[in-house]
């Protein structure tokens, strides 16, 4: 058998999901499992490119696109344990396994992401306070190292905890085992509660009386003064069979929806405080109107996936995501300061989401720590980078850290003070990848093991 021919494709001005920054790079795209191997002097795996910034970019190097390595390898319908190649997406898993009563254990706000990407960013979802991060549900995975060898990493191995959250810098994940979650239906029982200010929003997120398996709060970050931090608290549970209308013949199936493509790049001025204010009014009205209802999982988890390429809404200049976590003790104070700065600076965020994190996991560079996390999408504009540096100061002085999968601009010092195990990570990386073969524009920018 001949080794697979590795054709190389030039990719000019490639970006992450936020379309900032852009990089010129090359890519290979293996179609068969054994074609997954490190290429050239510097390389990096890239899945569906949903990291926002430069996490999956490598200027002048070679990206190894994993999208075609997407075979399911084993599934046990009794235990819900599935094994698949790293290019399998959460969408693939949901489509194949929800009809059999199994749901993904942890999901970010899109299902268009690969298992490899979920592991590299050690993603979290609305259930972090109960079920932890993605890697918490991975018993083991296989990874291709810098020397081309394949190794199985199990919980407890340094390789496992360096890779979970390690942003692809330890190797090319090839196969993952994942423990799925049992569900009776494809539907969610949802409760929406309006909150008048930040104290109330935090109370809703932390009060056991309001708790649910999935919780999150949408914040209207244009509101200031008395209304600072007002929003809508959303709580969800997987619906039981008895909670879904009997008119639904098969409660484990979700009606197929055609994705509507976002038609064009909007001009830069399209999203401004006035239009966002109008959106917030409508959103608040629409979401606050319904207090308790049942909807399918797509509507609850993936409202934006219905619009293909929604990132074009932010125009050609793209946008920045900003997500921090602050420890419980300082979260209220720090978040108040950040929201005040946002409200004053009129740097409106289209999506602002507050969420409670449970205890920290074991991944060395895994983002979530116990406390509160705020995520913002901000359209790119002049002065935005300086403004975010000011937010960094607030986050650091309150003992917090930023999420690398969303970042495109933080300074090396911000990373260093947020991630105390960075030293362990780099030492370990040096031991398995002495030449620094796995690299990314993000790693270069942050001086991560450089």
């Amino acid at each position: 058998m001949l080794p697979e021919k590795q054709a190389v494709k030039d990719l000019a001005a490639l970006g992450g999901w936020g379309r900032y920054p852009l990089a010129d790079t090359r890519a290979v795209r293996p179609e068969r499992a054994r074609g997954l191997t490190p290429v050239g002097e510097h390389c990096l795996a890239r899945g569906l490119g949903r990291a926002y910034g430069d996490a999956a970019l490598l200027s002048g190097g070679t990206l190894v696109l994993t999208e075609r390595l997407n075979r399911f390898l084993a599934f046990d319908p009794e235990s819900g344990v599935v094994r698949a190649e790293a290019g399998v997406t959460l969408k693939d898993l949901l489509e194949a396994l929800v009809p059999r009563g199994w749901f993904v254990p942890v999901t970010p706000g899109t299902k268009n992401c690969t298992l490899g990407g979920c592991l590299a960013a050690d993603v979290h979802g609305k259930n972090h306070h109960r079920e932890g991060t993605f890697s918490n549900h991975v018993p083991e995975f296989e990874i291709v190292l810098a020397d081309g060898s394949r190794q199985t990493a199990r919980r407890g191995d340094d390789l496992f905890w360096a890779t979970a959250g390690g942003m692809g810098l330890t190797g090319l994940a090839s196969e993952l085992t994942l423990q799925m979650t049992p569900v009776e239906t494809a539907f969610m029982r949802v409760r929406h509660t309006r909150s008048k200010d930040l104290d109330r929003t935090i109370e809703l997120l932390t009060d056991p009386g309001h708790d649910a398996r999935y919780t999150v709060a949408w914040i209207d970050c244009l509101a200031g003064g008395r209304n600072l931090g007002r929003g809508i608290f959303m709580a969800g549970e997987h619906a039981l069979r008895s909670e879904v209308s009997l008119r639904v013949a098969n409660p484990l199936s979700v009606p197929f929806r055609r994705q509507k493509p976002f038609p064009m790049d909007l001009p830069g001025w399209a999203l401004n405080p006035t239009t966002i204010k109008a959106f917030n009014l409508v959103y608040d009205w629409a979401k606050g109107r319904r207090t308790e209802f049942v909807c399918d999982y797509d509507q609850f988890f993936y409202p934006l996936d219905g619009i293909q390429g929604w990132n074009r809404m932010y125009g050609k200049r793209g946008f920045l995501q900003y997500q921090y976590v602050l420890p419980t003790a300082t979260a209220r104070e720090g978040t108040r300061l950040v929201l005040e700065r946002l409200s004053q600076a009129k740097k409106a965020s289209f999506l602002a989401v507050l969420k409670r994190f449970g205890p920290q996991g074991e991944g060395w560079l895994s983002f979530p720590t116990e406390g509160l996390t705020l995520a913002l999408d901000i359209p790119f504009s002049d002065g935005l980078l300086t403004f975010l540096d000011e937010l960094d100061d607030i986050v650091l002085s309150h003992g917090g850290r930023l999420y690398m999968a969303k970042d495109a601009r933080m300074k090396p010092a911000v990373l260093r003070s947020g991630y105390p195990r960075l030293g362990d990570f780099c030492e370990f990386k040096k031991s398995i990848d002495p030449e620094g073969r796995f690299d990314s524009d993000m790693a270069r920018r942050l001086g991560l093991c450089h």
Binding site: K9, E31, A33, L73, E95
Partner: protein, 249 residues
Amino acid sequence: MPLSPGPVLVLGATSAIARSVALALAAKGCSLVLAGRDEPELERIKSDLEIRCGVSVSHLVFDAEDETSHKAFWAQAEVDHGPFKGVVLAFGYLGDQQRAQEDWGEARSVLERNFVSAASILHVVAQSMETRGEGWIVVLSSVAGDRGRMSNYVYGSAKGGLTIFLQGLRSRLQKAGVHVMTVKPGPVDTAMTFGMDRLPLLADPQTVGKAIVAGLAQGKDVLYVPTPWRLIMFVLRSVPEKIFKKTSL
């Protein structure tokens, strides 16, 4: 033509197009037998189809280039997994036109793998289905076989030969109630084309797979995917040779 749930044999099952055709067939409930040279890869595709679609899938080692083995391969496959309701022939080799012009070995390989090997296994399958009086055959040819062009006439002539072989075979088997569909894909986004620039109307394999199964269900004789290629190739075939030979297509 409604798709019956009987087993379907996929020849050259590890290519991206074959995999997507198999997926579309499995989604319709067809059980599958995957045949190809790369056994570890066949096993992976087998488990993938079983888990995604809940159908039963087997796999067999098949060497398209070893024509002497074809008769025995088919007989054994029929005994173990048949009788097959359908056969999908998806193996092929694009090769390199430039190299084929300089090196007869390469040219010969392109001609043999795309035409002779395909005709050889079709010869066996056709006899068997003709006797049985039922079944269907789907063969992946190419738009490249519709007109010889200087940039890939070696591959094009092999596919063109295959297209003409299928025209005759369709007519012959039609009398026995066996349907033959010729598929002519334009460029598809696979390992074959990855990294080539300026490919017009590049189609993704999923779309092609679904279109093939839909075309089969409609009983199409010749299927261009994506559809605009039917018109493009009509225009291209209509250009007089005096003019066409001056182009560098």
